[in-house]
Amino acid sequence: MSDRDSESRLTGPAPALAAGWLLILSGLAPNLACAESETVDNQGCLRCHQMATLAYRDPGTGEIVDLSIAPMALSHSAHGKLACSDCHSADFDRYPHPKRLKEETLSCVGCHEDQDDADQRLYRFETIDEEFERSVHATSDHPKAAGFSCHSCHDPHAFRNSRVGEEIRQIVHDDNAICLSCHKKVQDPLRDPHAWLPKREKHRESVRCLDCHTPLTEAGQPVSHRILAAEDSNRDCVNCHSKEPQLLNRLYQYRSEEDLASKGWVSKAVFNEAYVVGMSRSPLIDRLALAVIGITVLVLGAHGYGRYRAYRREQEDQA
């Protein structure tokens, strides 16, 4: 998934706050109709909210709260066909917006689970919610994780799923940009905790942060929303590199070169530390070979039994 155009505006702890305030101010509220409007006329709202500079400084936190919505990003987003009032209270059409609307919150899960086709979607939002509750973003005590919500990563006014046909490298880039918009340390070569990772840049270009920082999803959904803490994340190269021959090839050759350069030929021949589990795995050959071996054993057993019968016959004839 990607979150177009959002990372440039949502940075640091601001995304959560910005999203929160945006919803509060623009009408967080009871009208969770969730229906797709046939004719969408959001011009009334966008007249103000499309201004790129529409923002204010929150007196409590001192953070700048961005209230702007990019109309193009909105129209191309997953929610592009919705009217503002499908999610937000219709009362927002009055300005100044009524103060009571501040108290309301907006629930992604509730709305998405009410959709008719909810059970046919790749993602069940109830599952996402359960996974998120166990995510490091929800369980961490870190002050920057306070108030973390769906909108911290998924800007509801710009988010859309990636589609088949898009370049994978671009999808990976956009996906990782969401993480990197907060995780600044990862971008600093001196402080990056991924220093142990061989060919770091190549990994970052081709692998999503999520690929290592989520468990394999048990719910059958493409990606788990249970983001793992660094210490719980996958550091075992083999988990990915034994499943795909090309990756395996690269990993093994890389480790072999390291082995030869640091330990020499003899050590390489005896210890071969580059070898990874699953290198020679081929389910087809395994099954075929074990079947042939099994059949051979049966045939040999039958042959032996036939010989035994012949031997007994001979004994009887002699007796």
């Binding site: 021959p245 090309q246 395996l248 090839n249 093994y252 050759q253 072999s256 070169e257 030869l260 390489k268 021949a269 005896v270 210890f271 071969n272 530390e273 070898y275 589990v277 699953g278 290198m279 020679s280 795995r281 081929s282 050959i285 070979a289 042939v292 071996i293 051979t296 054993v297 040999l300 042959h303 032996g304 036939g306 010989r307 019968r309 012949a310 031997y311 016959r313 001979e314």
Partner: protein, 209 residues
């Protein structure tokens, strides 16, 4: 009762050392390939033992080839084309049919030819084709960095790994058949005893090695 000295000491030593190494390679190879199952050897230990045994197998194979080149044992692997098909058919018919009818063995081992035609082509296939390919693929696995990046358009490590695996399965299959076929002598233990003592003993001459 006839006695023939068919297996000189070096052949017997090579045979049993090779057999022991092969069993170790099978167990450690399975431990690497199917790592995770309970009855297998610890992964890193299996790698070290497998590689060491592989080096010994290579040395043993070279020794076997040199032995066959420099002693008379090599003649048992020279195929006599004259009457080849007839001998092969007779031997196959015996194993497939005659053996259940207590038919006489179609082959009589001698100092000149200890292997029947079926055995001969099997052992040639195993020792002069499968075994060197297995050994080569093992070494190619270890020093794959010196191989081209791709072989036949596929990542070379994968080609080597799958070749090594397939050859290993074929040789396991050979071992099973070999273990069975050696029981088809005059008594089930006749051939086993011969490979231990070197002497092929028979109450009548119509037996085989």
């Amino acid at each position: 009762m006839s006695q023939l000295y068919l297996y000189p000491l070096w052949v017997r030593v090579w045979h049993w050392v090779n057999a022991a190494i092969f069993l170790v390679l099978m167990y450690t190879g399975a431990s690497m390939h199917f790592n995770g199952a309970g009855w297998l050897m610890e992964f890193q230990t299996a790698i070290t033992v497998h590689n060491t045994a592989g080096i010994l197998l290579t040395v043993g194979w070279i020794g076997f080839i040199l032995g066959n080149l420099t002693t008379s044992n090599g003649r048992h692997y020279h195929v006599q084309l004259k009457g080849f098909i007839g001998r092969l058919t007779a031997q196959s018919l015996y194993y497939g049919y005659g053996i259940f009818r207590n038919a006489p063995h179609p082959f009589h081992p001698s100092a000149e030819a200890k292997l029947n035609t079926l055995q001969q082509i099997t052992y040639i296939g195993v020792m002069y084709l499968l075994m060197p390919l297995l050994v080569l693929s093992g070494w190619a696995f270890l020093f794959s960095v010196y191989l081209p990046e791709t072989l036949f358009g596929i990542g070379s490590v994968w080609v080597v790994a799958i070749a090594h695996l397939t050859l290993a399965y074929l040789l396991v299959l050979f071992l099973l058949v070999h273990l069975y076929v050696i029981t088809t002598g005059e008594t089930p233990m006749t051939n086993m005893k011969a490979m231990l003592s070197g002497w092929h003993r028979d109450s009548h001459q119509d037996t085989e090695a």
